[in-house]
Symmetry: C2
Subunit: 492 residues, 2 copies
């Protein structure tokens, strides 16, 4: 007879690459997303929350995120049960765009057209986790589906600028930059770059940030030697072909008008190029009409991220203030959002091309930026802790906490074993409590409470002499009826 084997204890561990969010991690992100949602709603965008699970078939392969090209999905097969599971392969969504495509096709007869929607929520990627790279993370998208007008692109850019200010980024600390894939196509056409070379060109100009004008010139023509001494093959363009591409990348002038003139020159006689420049020109005019000055949103052909994926206007929001990197060097904070115009969103499902444009905010990056600027944390303060001196008088302590809460003050009664008072103060410390309330039998008999200012107390403990410390100015005795007033006084 087989004996029951005792099950070993399970490990209490988050799966590799996943994490939990505690307290302020949750509230700070929520406050940021709430502020963004208010801006999106004000612009007529409606929230959409799709299911986390999609059929693998509907999900397809549509990853726009060039940073994670090999990202896989978490997928499993349903049991095929009559009346139950379908035998379909299901998967967790890897972004918020693929579900939008499915929704736009599935509900095309019910949704308004154009359909403006925003979505915020977790997505999952089955890929190798690394430092700061998790397998579940938040995305925050806004898209307009069904409008071919560049007015939709202009609106998205304006909304993005407003959203950054709404979360606390000051004007001058960010810039939204706009480019256009059609202009690049025009430049390639003007330079007589062969179609089979286009992808290589895109790959090389993507390095413009790192290697500069001369570096890209080498990469587009005969190749170059990188810092490690390795030979990198060039695309094989002539210098004459490479020139308009470089002129495009460096076309930014002192203001949009000058930039547009430079772009017109770069695209030569190309029809698609002229169309792209016209689009940028219209966008610039619309932004001006909306009161969006060039210190907030500017045309900048050096924006190359996403040019390979998007089909028309491309945008990127950058934070321009400096932070210290892990090595203590100053650097610009950099990109926190990107987007552009894309086709084929719904086409996979219906065969019909539906124009769409949208933006995705990097939730973790933007939150990190707010933290770096000290723009979060107001909500993170701990509760007033009512300590327990006499466990038979829990009702009295709970009444104190209830009174504080009724006045809108975060408060709780210590609920652990009250025997060791030191543990109660350690608990209050761990809770980041600003105040502890103390009432023993003696105080209760005299109708008073002790109110301990823990923030002042910590300051005194760190700075004061023994005599000063003994005089305990951080602790006050007040009449029970004055408890709320005293707490209010300390909290300021």
């Amino acid at each position: 007879m087989a004996k029951d084997k005792k099950q070993p204890r399970p490990k209490a561990e988050t799966p590799k690459g996943f994490r939990d969010y505690f307290g302020a991690d949750v509230t700070e992100r929520k406050a940021m997303l709430d502020a963004i949602a208010r801006v999106y709603a004000l612009h007529g965008f409606d929230p959409l929350e799709t299911s986390a699970v999609e059929t693998v078939e509907a999900l397809g392969k549509f990853l726009p995120d060039v940073d994670r090209p090999n990202a896989g999905v978490f997928a499993w097969q349903e049991e095929a049960v009559p009346g139950g599971g379908s035998g379909d392969w299901l998967a967790l969504r890897y972004d918020l765009t693929a579900p939008l495509a499915r929704v736009a096709a599935q509900f095309r007869n019910d949704l308004p057209s154009p359909y403006r929607r925003y979505a915020m929520g977790p997505v999952w990627r089955n890929e190798k986790p690394g430092p700061g790279r998790f397998r579940q993370f938040y995305q925050c998208d806004a898209d307009t589906v069904g409008s071919a007008s560049v007015a939709a692109d202009a609106e998205i850019c304006a909304m993005l600028a407003d959203a950054l200010e709404a979360v606390g980024i000051a004007r001058g600390d960010y810039v939204v930059r706009i480019n256009n894939r059609k202009v690049l196509n025009g430049v390639l056409e003007a330079a007589e770059v062969r179609e089979d070379q286009a992808d290589d060109v895109l790959r090389q100009i993507d390095k413009f940030d790192k290697v500069g004008r001369e570096g890209v010139l080498s990469l587009l023509t005969t190749g170059r030697r990188d810092d490690s001494g390795a030979e990198i093959e060039g695309v094989g363009l002539s210098e004459a072909q490479a020139k308009p591409v470089l002129d495009f990348l460096t076309a930014k002038g002192g203001e949009n008008g000058a930039t547009l003139d430079n772009l017109r020159a770069a695209v030569g006689g190309s029809t698609i190029g002229a169309e792209g420049v016209d689009e940028l020109s219209q966008i610039a005019a619309m932004l001006a009409a909306m009161g969006m000055n060039e210190d907030r949103i500017v045309i900048d052909p050096a924006v190359v991220r996403g040019l390979g994926y998007y089909t028309g206007p491309v945008f990127e929001a950058e934070l321009t203030f400096e932070i210290l990197d892990e090595k203590g060097r100053k650097r610009q904070f950099g990109s926190v959002a990107g987007g552009g115009r894309y086709d084929g969103l719904v086409e996979r499902f219906t065969g019909q091309k539906v124009p769409a444009t949208g933006v995705s905010i990097g939730v973790d990056r933007l939150l990190a930026a707010l933290r770096a600027k000290g723009l979060t944390g107001a909500e993170a303060s701990g509760p007033v802790v009512v300590t327990v001196m006499d466990r038979d008088r829990m009702g009295d302590y709970q009444a104190m906490a209830a009174e504080l809460r009724a006045a809108g003050i975060r408060a709780e009664v210590y609920l652990g074993n009250p025997k060791n008072f030191g543990n109660q103060l350690k608990y209050a410390d761990k809770r980041a409590a600003p105040i502890a309330i103390i009432q023993g039998a003696d105080e209760a008999a005299r109708g008073v409470v002790q109110v301990k200012d823990l923030i002042l107390g910590a300051k005194i403990a760190a700075e004061a002499s023994l005599d000063e410390w003994k005089s305990q100015p951080a602790q006050t005795e007040v009449a029970r009826g004055d408890l709320l007033a005293e707490v209010r006084r300390i909290l300021g």
Copy 2:
């Protein structure tokens, strides 16, 4: 040679049992959960957002939800890749309690003790979908881990009552009822019910709501014939054994004091029973001290849901107002939240018993209740739609929308093909727009705009005569500079 086969188009469908949430579905639930979160935070509870994915090992089988006893999980095996996937089985969380157990064990040295946390988010169940039964749904939990004190239970009940009022349920429209598993244990002990009969007794008293005192008496003793004529076997207790059980179920008196007296009688000389009654008595005293009257929270031994799962105090929140069911009959809305005290939460992981108590609000049910009472929907109004008469003047239209938004009014420009003006008004209708703004070349030249009150317009269209309709009082021409003032006037 194999020819490339054209891939068939994927179906644009939500997987079976999953759904999407649009617009007000999202904002109304969010507003409700935000209000609840504010109450929880005020009580010193901190948010916790665990990853959606857990190892199957950590998740275990711990389903407290007696309504869904056969619920499975969505699970898959990781690829075992050196430095990458672990070969572990992973699964989507099926509730918020199992992840809390894992977190409480994993972070036991870092978390404050007691640890008060709330959690809100989707959970997933791999079970047969049905009408109103989805495979992804929201839960909203609050738990205190590490406190053996019934003060923690009292606090949870008080917080639950406050949360119901915070979302808009009026005092008198709800009641939180408290029972205690220990009292039932005492009753069973007093009645000399054998241990192997206890589960059967629990199963039968669970039917008290449906079959009443006489029905349960039969079920506990010799059995009964149900409405269909089928014979149901009894537990086999004597009438003398069944009596204290029935006395327990019907122990509720005119006020808590009387109920406690009845319970003391029902448990006879049982020690565990006396302990249970004492706990209820302490909870009643604490609630009174917090100013929680018995019209909000009351001791009621007829609460039997969850008695099989919980180990001490058990609570349930019921909405007492009547709604019409699908057959047009009046019935009480019923339960929207439940909880209680449980052991063994962390024990699976560490071997240590950690006492815990908590409550779970049925998010979908509570939201349905708010809708039934007309307590949602304020946020659901559509944007002002600025129509496009002249596509060369998009900047002008966008400036109008920007001006309204700067004043906090939701507004958007029509971004579809502007050729057919009727389509624009149909679009505004689909968007539930309260106002449409119209400015053609003629109006632009005269410096005016037409402001169309769509809500009044719809009313007139439904009620007015042709002459009245022709006079179009729902449309006003104002100077461009008065646009904002006129929109404000109409929106009231």
